[in-house]
């Protein structure tokens, strides 16, 4: 069941009505049942995976908190890590690993029959696996207490708005909110609705429109000019942002309506003026996850300078692999890791004090934009050879010309990007000004919301486009 479907809207409406009709203490049951139903709409069998992850981490966390011997605690933590990561490896990475090993041996003329595993990637497995992992690790570290109520813990793992594509929540934020008494609040309903609308705008008006042009170009790379590929990659930058952030906003809005505040996942990443700034704004729940559970355990910046660079690089490499079982994602991680290390190196070693009086924000935004477009040569490409083909065509073998495809679609792509950018510039640099959906005047708010809905209806793409991050 996709957020951008009538089925979801009806489902959500029913859940909300029942949610506020029943007593507070029974709401977790409704949330759990609706979350499992939501997930089963994809592939009912895969509910077993969520249930097994939930059960294992529930008991492991309680046991960890009860045991006093550190070595036994560690063993239980490893058990949870191995269990969860094995599921992830089996369903997401086995074929990638299998193919890579096979190709490696083939390169040395060693041939064997490759075992084939024909399984569908369970939707959202990377998200809920990371969510449960963070819980067990936090309990092990003593940062959080184990949840004794199995049902409420199960809701934390499977809460339907953020189940399949985040934000990746932390138990010490989420579970207390779940337990808190919630009254029907006009503010929550109104805010949540507006956040959802913004998410629908990003997904339907911007992301799904851009995908038509981007797919046209990337599925026929050989015949495209260099400028067309650069344009498609720039469009993809906006597409993936709006696709993913759109999902996050719909999730955050839906949860807000139920009185639950999910964490912010995107903060206008296209206005980032440095690589470090970008990762503070992009997929925040995952960036902070990697910071807390990968980068800091590796030693973070409290190590030698070379090790610090290595830690940064490794964190990005793993982040790349998290995104997908393909060498294109690994290279994407390497690419970002390199630029991150480079930026830190320059900041530490190059004296730019005389330049500090100048404002480099705009230049920074442009440079980060260009670096991001380059990263999507890997991320969007269908294969590594496609990625290298793109780099060759853009930097070495320039092919003149430009194809806008269907001009109507191309214009609508530009319209969507322009509206998005103007709104984000306003939010970033003029907060509290030119308010429409949050104007003090009731009628401006009401008419503004109605016009915004009309714009979505008129400019949106309603062909039920999948969310890109579901595949991760």
């Amino acid at each position: 069941m996709l957020f951008n479907s009538v089925d979801f809207l009806l489902f959500f409406l029913v859940v909300i009505i029942v949610y506020y009709s029943i007593h507070d203490k029974y709401r977790w049951i409704l949330l759990l049942l609706s979350s499992y139903y939501f997930y089963m709409c994809w592939k009912p069998e895969y509910l077993v995976l969520i249930l097994s992850s939930t059960t294992v981490d529930y008991f492991v966390a309680i046991k960890i908190s009860e045991i006093k011997v550190q070595s036994r605690k560690k063993k239980l933590l490893y058990f949870s890590l191995i269990f969860n990561l094995s599921l992830l490896f089996f369903f997401k990475y086995f074929n990638f690993f299998n193919n890579s090993v096979h190709d490696f041996f083939q390169a040395f003329n060693v041939f064997y029959n490759k075992p084939i595993l024909d399984v569908l990637l369970p939707v959202g497995i990377s998200f809920y696996t990371f969510q449960t992992l963070s819980y067990t690790i936090d309990v092990y570290r003593g940062n959080t207490k184990p949840e004794r109520h199995f049902g409420k813990f199960a809701v934390f793992v499977s809460f339907f708005p953020q189940l399949v594509a985040g934000p990746i929540e932390r138990s010490n934020r989420f579970i207390p909110m779940l337990k808190k008494k919630k009254k029907l609040s006009y503010h929550n309903i109104s805010e949540g609705f507006k956040i959802m609308l913004w998410g629908f705008f990003m997904k339907l008006v911007v992301a799904d429109r851009l995908s038509i042009y981007v797919d046209m170009v990337y599925n026929d790379l050989n015949n495209q000019s260099s400028l067309t590929i650069i344009t498609a990659s720039s469009f993809f930058l906006f597409q993936i942002y709006c696709d993913f952030a759109g999902y996050s906003y719909i999730a955050i809005g839906a949860a807000k309506i139920m009185g639950i505040d999910l964490m912010e996942n995107f903060r206008r990443p296209n206005l980032a003026s440095s690589i470090g700034d970008l990762w503070n704004r992009w997929h925040i729940s995952l960036s902070t996850w990697f910071r807390d559970y990968v980068y800091i355990p590796l030693g973070g910046n409290r190590v030698s300078i070379d090790r610090f660079y290595l830690n940064l690089f490794l964190t990005f490499l793993i982040s790349g692999l998290w995104h997908g079982a393909n060498w294109t994602f690994v290279l994407w991680g390497v690419y970002h890791g390199m630029f991150m290390v480079m930026e830190v190196f320059l900041k530490k070693n190059v004296k730019i004090s005389f330049l500090r009086k100048f404002n480099f924000t705009i230049l920074g935004i442009i440079i980060v934009f260009i670096i991001k477009v380059g990263s999507y040569f890997f991320f969007r490409a269908n294969s590594v050879s496609d990625s290298f083909f793109i780099f060759r065509r853009v930097f070495y073998d320039w092919k003149p010309g430009f194809s806008a495809g269907d001009l109507n679609i191309f214009i609508l792509c530009l319209v969507g990007i322009t509206i998005l950018t103007l709104i984000e510039i306003k939010q970033e640099y003029f907060p509290g000004k030119f308010l429409i959906l949050h104007n003090k005047n009731y009628y401006i708010r009401l008419i503004g919301t109605a016009i915004f809905i009309a714009i979505i209806f008129y400019l949106g793409v309603f062909d039920g486009g999948q969310f890109i991050y579901f595949q991760f």
Binding site: V6, L184, S190, F462
Partner: protein, 311 residues
């Protein structure tokens, strides 16, 4: 709690009312603009679905639109002609044209241009949706438009949805006259200029393609189209237009041949016609003839039809 529910309900009602007013208002404006198009895509669609009474109806996608000159057919056959071809379209669009036409009148002849690979493609469920503005005025095409999704019949209540994203095509005929084909060309959209050959490529060979499986759903849809014309007593001619390079007989053509007996239509296969292949002066690109090529093809097809009529 009661006050909150009242406040939320009141705002929802106001919001729905406002959205409905905007929706209706824009629907009226877009409808007015569409029905006053001086030419262009929507002018052509209105004429095809609502006013054309031509004896000969040309149907197809971009090849039909550019390769068949109604004036040449009229001169040779002495019958009125309308070219309903539309670039990028496939069988569902032809079905919409068929349903709307047969509801009003029965053309004497239908010339249907079918690609040599048409049945290898999945049945389109999107491109013909530009006909959404005609959903309510043409109940005969509703079932075809509703195929896109289960929610289509509900979404169609919204004018904004019916006119979704079409402003460029809706407005451009007012700004650039004849960009989508001049009214005088009776639906044809001629292409001017000649193919620019890439000197590094060798064109002197047949196009080789990987064999693809035919799509069952597409074949079934074509059968419905052929059956309806047959039942209506329309003389149907299926034309396979030439490309710049010759091609082999395809599985799609085999199916056309099989169906021609079942549904009583004639096939004019000009795929490898020597009057066209390797003649850059007659082509605008590898698949579409220019006006000169289109006139020659139209003349050839018209004469073949004439001889078949006499036989």
């Amino acid at each position: 709690m009661k006050n909150v529910i009242i406040r939320i309900s009141r705002n929802i009602i106001f919001l729905i009312l406002l959205v409905a007013i905007i929706d209706i208002l824009f629907g009226v404006i877009f409808n007015f603009i569409m029905y006053n198009s001086p030419d262009g895509r929507y002018f052509k669609s209105i004429h095809t679905l609502e006013t054309s009474t031509a004896d000969i109806l040309i149907m197809g996608s971009s090849k039909a639109e550019t390769n068949f000159n109604p004036h040449v057919f009229e001169k040779t056959l002495g019958l009125s002609v309308w070219n309903s071809g539309r670039g990028g379209q496939s069988i569902p669009f032809f079905r919409c044209v068929q349903e709307a036409t047969l509801k009003r009148y029965i053309p004497k002849i239908v010339i249907l241009n079918l690609g040599a690979y048409r049945l290898e493609n999945e049945l389109d469920k999107n491109r013909y949706m530009f006909l959404k503005p005609f959903y309510w005025s043409h109940p005969e095409i509703r079932p075809i438009l509703e195929r896109k999704s289960n929610n289509e019949k509900y979404l169609m209540f919204s004018s904004l949805y019916r006119y979704n994203s079409v402003f460029y095509y809706l407005f451009r005929s007012f700004v650039i006259h004849g960009i989508d084909g001049d009214v005088k060309m009776k639906g044809m959209k001629p292409r001017i200029g000649s193919i620019k050959l890439d000197t590094s490529l060798n064109y002197k060979h047949k196009i080789e393609r990987d064999e693809k499986t035919l799509k069952e759903e597409t074949i079934l849809e074509l059968e419905i189209l052929l059956k309806k014309f047959n039942e209506a007593g329309v003389q149907l001619y299926v034309v396979i237009s030439p490309d710049f390079q010759p091609g082999d007989k395809t599985p799609s053509i085999d199916v056309y041949n099989k169906l021609s007996e079942k549904y009583n239509f004639k096939i004019i296969n000009l795929m490898n016609d020597n009057d066209f292949i390797y003649k850059p002066e007659l082509f605008k690109d590898a698949a579409h003839l220019n006006l000169e090529g289109a006139n020659i093809l139209s003349n050839k097809v018209a004469k073949k039809i004439k001889s078949m009529l006499h036989n």
